[in-house]
Amino acid sequence: MKRARALLIERLGVGGTWGSIGRIAAFTAVWVFVIGLVVSPRATTPADRDIDADVPASPVSPVEYLGPVSRQDYSGFLPATAAIPGDTTNSGDAFRVAWVGGSETKWESRSVPGQMTQFVSTFGGAPITHHAYTIIAPRQIDALRAIDAALDDQPDALVVSMNPVWVSDEWSAREWPNLDVAEFATLFADPMLWPWAAALTSPEDVAWTLTRGLSPVVEAQSRLNGEVQDIVDALDVVEHPAPPSTVAGPPPPPEGDPRLPVGDPSYFWLVQEYGAERIEDSTERVALMLDGLVGDDSVARQLAAQIADKVESAGIPVFLYPAPTSPDSFDNEHFATSFAKLQAFWTDIAAGVDSPLVHFEIASMTAEFAEGEGLVNGGFIDVVHMYDTAPFAGVLAPKLCAQWSAAFPGDACA
C-alpha cells in the first residue's frame, strides 16, 4: 500500500494536490457519461410491464400504462408516447386522457381505462388515447406526483380516482422509501409544504434523480439488474443447474415479507397500526382506512387542497371521483359512516374549487352499475377491486363525455 501510494503521489503526482483530485472527479463524471453512451441501454417502455390490461389494445383508442413497470423500479412514471402513429404532438391528432388512480383503476389485468375503450373511442372526431398513471394504494404524495407527471404530458382531460387511503394521515403512511424520486420536487412547489418536502425527501432521492439524468445506465438500473442477475445465475457453477429433487419436501414458503398477512398489500399499513386481527374483514379494513389511521386529517386536508389547486390550475376538464366500493360494503355500519366522512372531506375540498372545468363526483357511483345482470357482488372481488370493470366504465363513460362536451362545445364522444 505504501509503495503504491509512493508511486502515485510522489512519482506521478496523482492525488497529491486538489487539482489532481478535481481532475479525477471530472474524469469520473466524464466516464460515467461516456459509458452510458457506449452501453446505451434502451429506455424502459410500457411494453416492459409483465401484466397488461384485460382488453386487447385498440388500434383506434389505445391505452398506455405508465406506472413503474416492476417492483424494483423507483424511477417514477414513464413519459407518455405518441400512441397513435402520426400523433407527434401532445395536442395534435388525438384527444389525450390521463388517468390517475390506484389498484381500483388498474389491478393486474383489470383496467377501467381499458374498458372505457369499449364504450367510446373518439371525441370530436379525434381518436381518444388513454394514459394511466397508476400505482398500488397511492397516498396523496403519490397522487400529487402522478398528477404532476400526467400534466407534464399535456393531456386534454384528466380523470382522478380518489383512493380511500388519501384521507389517512400522511406521516403514518410514510414508513418506506420514496417510490417516485423523479418527482421528488413536487412538494417544494408550495412553501406551505416545505416542512413536509424536507421531511419526506432524502438525499438519496436527489442523488438518484441526478444520476439518472446523467447516465442511461442508471436510468435503466432496475431492468439491467434483472439482466445481470440472469447472467450471474447462468455463470453460477455451484447452484446452477439446480439438482432435481427426488424427495418431496415441505412446500416452499410464500413469497413476500413473512410478517405480512398473505393477500391484499394494503394490509401492511393497517397491520402496523391496529394489528393483524382487526383487519381480517376487508370491509372493516377499508373502513379503518377511510377513517384515517390516526384520526388527524390536517395533513390529508392540506395535501388534498394541493391536489385541488393543481388540477384547477391545469385548465383542462378534470373529473375526480371516490373509488367505487362494493354494494355489500355499505351493510357494514362502520364502513357506511366512514364513507360519509370521506364524502364530507371531499365536499369541503371541492367547495374551494371555482373552476367549471373541475368536477368532483362525490356521490358513490356503485348503485349505478352494481345491479347489472350476471354480476356477483356488483362485479367486486372485495371492497374496492372489481373483477369486471366494464359495468363501471359504462357508467363513467357518459359522465366523462358530458364533461368534455361542456368544455369543448360542439364536440362529442362516439
Binding site: 503526482g13 479525477i24 474524469f27 469520473t28 401484466i51 413503474p68 424494483q72 398500488i136 439488474n225 401492511f268
Partner: protein
C-alpha cells in the same frame, strides 16, 4: 507532455471509480416489498 502520464493515471482511476459507481447503482436495486404488486 510533462504531465501526460499523470493525466493518464488520473483518467484510469476515474474510469475505475465510474465503473464501480455504475456497478453499485445496478446492484443497489432492491424489491419494494409490496407496493407495485399487480401493476
Amino acid at each position: 507532455m510533462k504531465h501526460t502520464r499523470q493525466y493518464i493515471v488520473e483518467a484510469g482511476i476515474g474510469l475505475a471509480i465510474a465503473l464501480l459507481l455504475l456497478w453499485t447503482s445496478i446492484a443497489a436495486v432492491t424489491d419494494i416489498p409490496f407496493v407495485y404488486q399487480g401493476l
